[in-house]
Amino acid sequence: MSNTKTIEIGGTPSEKLKTDLLTINMGPQHPATHGVLRIEIKTDSEIVSEAIPHLGYLHRCMEKHCEKVDYRGVIPFTDRLDYLASMSMEWGYSMAVEKMLNIEVPKRAEYIRCIIAELQRIASHLIAFGTYAIDLGAFSPFLYAFEMREKVLRFFEELSGARLLYNYIWIGGVWNDIDDKQLKRIGKFCDEMEEEVKKYNELVSFNKIFVERTANVGVLSIEDAYQYGASGPVLRGSGVKWDLRANRPYSLYSELDFDVHVGEGERGVVGDCWNRYFVRMKEVVESVKIIRQLLDGIEDGPVMGKVPKVIKPPKGEIYIRTECPRGELGYHLISDGKKTPYRLKVKSPCFTHTSMLPLLGEGQLIADFVATIGSIDIVLGEVDR
């Protein structure tokens, strides 16, 4: 494809005015790219005529490393995939190994896992909300979001010992038990969070300037969303009612009562940045609802199932997918009967979402392109692995 665009002015070829497309790099250290993503943008004045994402700046050979360590040792690596939602990452992997070994997870451990995963979803969506507001020039919402996220992180720190990379959900259960005081604190946090979301909505979601910046921008149609394999809030923002928690329930989700929210086009059209963003805010409220139900139903009992000392799954393979804050995360685990996995392939939602950038970016203003990147909420640790 030629970089040159010819605009004809006047009649004769000698009077033809040649204009070049200007190639600029956004990233890898650009604050709006949410990590180390480099996007090569070909600009025609201020319009993006082509956007090519370049990956690999955070590649850490995670999948290859996993073939070297034992099954328990993989969990710290899975933490580092999506470092903003480590608990959800661990859960998927643990579920895959448990299915292979036919381990039954105690009921209390399942409850704890669900509570933790929903809290993690809230924490992750708060980051998405905060950084999105920063991308569009509002700084204070970020601080408000971090104040609430800090409460979740503090809770995780008390539970597991780490703030970001927990290694808390283990094969067969969870590491430590939760005590009643902590459960009460989660209940209190849920009440606070509901109030906070109302505040965030007034502060950002329905702000006219924010709506003007995001509504009708970066529209992803249902067809394109299906074609590219989008999942999570990006797919739901385009109006598709698909959530693995509801459609293919795993763990305790089949017993819980919750709604799947989709973009309804209250502002702008369905599938634009505002709808993708607002689906996340609705999901936070929904997560609070789920946690309340779990807190009511939690049972006493052990938190660790019967797991052999040396984990050696039988020969075979398995594919497990879970609904992470950013979409559908899949683990394809192949075992050859030895102490270490033969292969662990991760299907990451952010990777598929990053591949949509050329489609979404074409024909946009650069400022709108920043809004689009923010609305699909990617984490580069998961894209590059």
Binding site: D79, G161, A162, E202, L203, N216, V217, Q364, D368
Partner: protein
């Protein structure tokens, strides 16, 4: 191709003024929320070097090995996903009295090296869970930055490290 401007949103005369009104109204609402933070909100920032946060009981900071209780079983080194623990030991000469750890297990090997590369350590805590004598623990010490990478290698048989014991070991 993704569209940026929808055709239905044509600007009318009243729409123009409504937009201005809405912008002022919603921004005013937001400003009121932020204004409330001036007096009705406690500061949440911890001013770090002066004020230190109290860490939770289970906080996983720098590793500490109580070398007197170590039986050189190498479980920690085997479970480590990043291989940052270096252990060496030699068998005890015959006829010598076998000392015991505080929980009563005999120390059959003499520990000659116990080094952890804290720069490589990923603080996952797997080594502490497999330790049979519970001599390897996560301490609450997090202030140990060094000028060089080699300074991050900590030899737990070193007397200097023994001297910190008071400071970094959890009660």
């Amino acid at each position: 191709m993704a569209t940026t401007i929808s055709e239905s949103n044509k600007l009318t005369f009243t729409g123009y003024f409504r937009n201005i009104y809405e912008a002022f109204y919603t921004c005013g609402k937001g400003m009121w929320i932020t204004f409330k933070y001036v007096w009705a909100h406690k500061p949440v920032t911890i001013e770090y070097p002066e004020v230190k946060e109290v860490l939770p009981e289970k906080a996983r900071m720098r590793l500490f090995n109580d070398a007197e209780n170590c039986i050189s079983c190498t479980q920690c080194a085997l479970s480590c996903p990043v291989d940052c623990i270096y252990i060496a030991s030699k068998p005890r000469p015959k006829g010598e009295e076998v000392p015991k750890t505080t929980n009563g297990s005999p120390i059959r090997q003499i520990l000659t090296q116990y080094t952890i590369d804290t720069a490589l350590c990923c603080y996952c805590g797997l080594c502490t869970t497999v330790c049979p004598t519970e001599c390897l623990t996560h301490s609450h010490d997090y202030e140990y930055s060094q000028y060089s990478l080699s300074g991050m290698k900590v030899d737990y048989l070193n007397d200097d490290v023994r001297a910190w014991r008071e400071r970094i070991v959890k009660e």
